[in-house]
């Protein structure tokens, strides 16, 4: 059968596209099938009000792998940045805001002690994040694998930790499993500083600053910068969708076919191996290899079906924690909002509302028990300041990640959404008086909305929580952490795999290598 040579990729999220581009470069016949009518998954730009466009999910690019950008020539395929190096502004309700850039304080007031500690903290965390970052491009070791490559992979991880040196290594081991709240508490005094740093640890997670694992998630977030890949927080010109468009162009240039508007209903099997896919339209397409960019639960329980898998594996996939808590706010504004006491040239930076770690922890508490936070924590960008293509002249778009919103609120999703929007606008108004009157249109996506629009089960940023029991060789689940799933010819390539989510591309590339490696082994 000639179709055995065909590789089908389910989903044109950025990881699916990276995977397609690498396989196409290796001269494989690749067909990408995307349910939505545009490529990119959670990395897209779309209109949410007439004339206003926004990065509808991911909005700041800080992890995109430099090797991937280079190898796939994303620049040549049209990717440009609107701003390459955003600062972080920790907004204060009264007094000075803090402007942070890497480990430096650029504006605002901090006691000397905190100022020194900040530089030291930043260096230390970057070193640790680098250990994690180094694993991103490696296939994680398989537990109990015992083979030579498994041992090498495990040894490399151990070696990277050892290479930190004795004291840093002890420190790494000490903090890796504890929480960001305690680490910040023992390092800094100023609540506003601690709040901004704590937010980095919990964005996109199901964690509060006092939850264990929150140091790990902070390191994961930093790991993009740590490996020096993009040099900081950037805004792609044209929004996040531009990254995906460039990836799609690279994949197509290599010979891959990308079809949008083609939702896959099921992954078909013949005996114990994949034989292709069936689209919702009823169309059947044969393939010897199927790689899914969809999340693990959707891929395995919905598209493959539990009955074709073994009980223990199904149980682990069902227990892969994947309920998101990050909501996304989009505002169409008829002018530039005026944040109190904020210099005009800073309004285009990354603005955070996280006055202190206890504030974030309280916000989390509500979500833990099924309510949206009455006083949420926010990460805000106004990309139209740097990118005039996003809004009509003189007008602006505000894009914010709002935490926390439970996946299944106690109230109905509609009621919860309305109330959360109201609370969030009220909060913004406190920081930017008059902002409410500038709002022409608004959109708030709760995790359940994100699940629906982006087809991410649970609406989680990383397709599933990044936690000690769900990372590296345990991601998504023990026994299937090498992109290859326990059905011959089936692979995963999305954020649910090592090294997790964020617009990075590493999962897609590693999966492509796993597929090519699997061909060699067979």
């Amino acid at each position: 059968m000639t179709d055995r040579n065909r590789i089908i990729i389910v989903g044109a999220g950025h990881n699916g596209l990276v995977c397609a581009a690498y396989l196409a470069r290796a001269r494989r016949e690749v067909l990408v099938l995307e349910a939505s009518d545009r490529v990119g998954g959670a990395a897209i730009t779309r209109e949410f009000a007439p004339g206003f466009r926004v990065s509808a999910c991911a909005h700041i690019c800080y992890q995109l792998d430099a090797g991937i950008s280079r190898e796939l020539k994303l620049g040549a395929h049209g990717l440009k940045t609107a701003h390459a190096n955003l600062r972080t502004v920790a907004l204060a309700t009264e007094g000075d805001h803090l402007v942070l850039h890497g480990g430096r304080l650029e504006a605002g007031l901090l006691p000397d002690k905190d100022r020194a500690a900040l530089a030291d903290y930043h260096d230390r965390m970057l070193r640790f994040a680098r250990v994690l970052g180094k694993q991103h491009n490696r296939r994680p070791p398989r537990i109990g694998g015992g083979g030579r490559s498994e041992l090498i992979a495990a040894a490399m991880l151990g070696l990277d930790i050892r290479r930190l040196g004795r004291d840093p290594m002890r420190e790494f081991m000490r903090i890796a499993g504890i929480n960001i709240f305690d680490v910040l508490e023992e390092t800094f005094e100023t609540p506003l500083l601690k709040g901004a740093l704590a937010l980095d640890a919990v964005l996109g997670t199901n964690l509060g600053p006092r939850s264990n694992n929150s140091v790990l998630t902070m390191l994961h977030r930093l790991s993009g910068q740590a490996t020096g890949v993009t040099g900081g927080l950037s805004l792609p010109a044209g929004g996040m969708g531009a990254v995906s468009e460039a990836l799609a162009a690279a994949a197509r240039a290599g010979g891959a076919t990308v079809r949008t508007g083609s939702p896959v209903a099921s992954i078909t099997l013949e005996g114990d191996r994949v034989s292709g896919v069936e689209l919702e339209s009823g169309e059947k397409l044969a393939a010897g290899t199927v790689i899914s960019n969809a999340d693990p639960a959707r891929t395995l329980l919905q598209l493959v079906g539990a009955r074709h898998l073994e009980t223990g594996f199904v149980h682990r996939i069902r227990n892969f924690r994947s309920k998101g808590m990050a909501a996304k706010l989009h505002l169409a504004l008829d002018g530039l909002p005026g944040f109190a006491r904020l210099a005009a040239q800073r309004a285009g930076d990354r603005l955070v509302i996280a006055p202190d770690p206890v504030y974030i922890d309280r916000a989390f508490d509500h979500a833990k028990y099924g309510q949206c936070s009455p006083d949420p924590a926010l990460e805000i960008t106004i990309p139209s300041i740097h990118d005039r293509t996003l809004a009509p002249a003189g007008r602006h778009v505000l894009s914010a990640i709002v935490q926390y919103a439970p996946f299944d609120p106690r109230a109905s999703t509609d009621a919860a959404r309305a109330e959360f929007l109201e609370r969030t606008l009220g909060l913004l108004e406190r920081y930017a008086p008059g902002l409410r009157r500038q709002v022409v249109a608004s959109e708030l996506l709760l995790p359940a909305d994100i699940e629906r629009e982006f087809r991410i089960t649970g609406g989680h940023w990383h397709h599933g929580e990044l936690a000690l029991d769900q990372i590296l060789m345990l991601r998504p689940v023990p026994g299937a952490a090498q992109y290859a799933m326990p059905v011959d010819g089936l692979y995963l390539c999305g954020a649910g795999c090592h090294p997790g989510g964020g617009v990075m591309g590493a999962a897609g590339r590693n999966a492509a290598h796993a597929v090519l490696g699997g061909e060699r082994a067979a």
Binding site: L301, G305, A306, R307, E310, G312, F313
Partner: protein
């Protein structure tokens, strides 16, 4: 009587202990029904359940994803799409967990069914004496229903002994009545209750393994080398790789490729001292296996054992020795006894399979 409306002990008979009965009520029973009962069981169990037609019973094992045996038991295909799964250990958790994605209903009805084993050469005659006309026509692993009192008695030609025998299944409310009828009408056939020791002897003679004795259920094993695969329990015939998916399939394929770690063998041991828990040595005094079950067999008139051997030991013809400890008047002694690997059951009388079943 412990459960006053259930059987206390049951009925078996061999030439040695004629006609015996044994209470199976505490054995775990699950009822599996619904549109997907067959695909559910086929994914759960290693053999092909589609081959067990309505009115038939099959012996089976089920494994975890690592291909290690969780338990063994019997599947009764009661009526089209309606199954009973019997096992020693409680399995509801595993069955429920396995049901995700299947349209099935699973209930544990251990205490809603009274069950009694009636085993031995005259067991068919006893059945006929209580009114199960035509019982002799049941083939091994057949199920039939007979009117009893004003209800129904289910009879299956199954059992945990290597002899002719049946298992009787009835509403607990009629259990006492059935017991009385068996002992009234079966008197001439020598019926009498049987205890666990007699059953233990009978099942080892038949070569049947038992959870917690000959293997540790995989879900209870903590150390990875403690559990066993079906191949390692000499149950490879119950593994059907032509099914595209079942629990343990991938691991078992891998085991078939790489080879097993252990094998279960039947040993005939010199002398008459049961080799319980004995180490098995090769000719150079290396430990190469352990006895899991051992008894003196009155039917085979030999000293028998089941043993788990490290590969490759346990081939017919291997020189093996059992280290047996025994007590005489409170003093312990030790003997090294020569072992012979036996193929097939120790006791396998033709009447076990003969249909129609004879009366004796």
């Amino acid at each position: 009587m412990r459960h006053k409306d259930h059987f206390k002990t049951a009925v078996y008979q061999t030439p040695f202990h004629p006609r015996t009965s044994f209470d199976l009520t505490p054995m775990t029973k699950h009822r599996i029904t619904g549109k997907d009962a067959l695909p559910f069981l086929n994914r759960l169990i290693t053999r092909d359940i589609a081959k067990i037609k309505p009115g038939r019973v099959g012996y089976c094992v089920w494994c975890d994803d690592n291909g290690q045996v969780i338990d063994d038991g019997t599947v009764f295909h009661l009526r089209e799409g309606d199954y009973r799964l019997c096992s020693q250990e409680r399995q509801l958790d595993w069955l429920t967990r396995s049901a995700h994605g299947f349209d099935v209903k699973i209930v544990e009805d251990t205490h809603e069914v009274a069950a009694l084993a009636l085993q031995g050469p005259t067991s068919c005659a006893v059945l006929k004496a209580i009114g199960c006309t035509g019982a002799e026509k049941l083939k091994p692993f057949d199920i039939a229903y007979f009117p009893f009192a004003d209800g129904e008695l289910m009879v299956s030609r199954t059992g945990f002994t290597g002899d002719l025998g049946y298992e009787l299944w009835i509403d607990p409310a009629r259990a006492l009545e059935l017991w009385d009828a068996l002992f009234d009408k079966g008197g001439n056939h020598g019926i009498r209750p049987m205890g666990t020791h007699a059953l233990e002897v009978a099942r080892i003679e038949a070569g049947f393994i038992q959870a917690q004795v000959d293997f540790l259920p995989a879900d209870q094993a903590i150390r990875i080398d403690r559990s066993r695969s079906p191949f390692e329990l000499d149950l490879g015939r119950l593994v059907d790789f032509s099914k595209p998916n079942f629990n343990g399939r991938r691991a078992l394929l891998e085991e078939r490729r790489r080879g097993s770690r252990y094998r279960l063998v039947r040993l005939d041991i010199e002398g008459n001292k049961p080799a319980r828990s004995a180490y098995i040595y090769d000719s150079k005094r290396n430990v190469v296996g352990t006895v899991t079950s051992a008894e003196w067999s009155p039917s085979a008139k030999s000293n028998i054992a089941l043993a788990s051997m490290h590969m490759p030991w346990g081939r017919p013809g291997d020189e093996l020795w059992a280290e047996i400890y025994y007590q005489r008047e409170l003093k312990w002694s030790r003997v090294m006894a020569r072992c012979r690997v036996v193929e097939g059951a120790f006791f396998d009388p033709p009447r076990r399979r003969a249909t129609p079943a004879a009366d004796f």
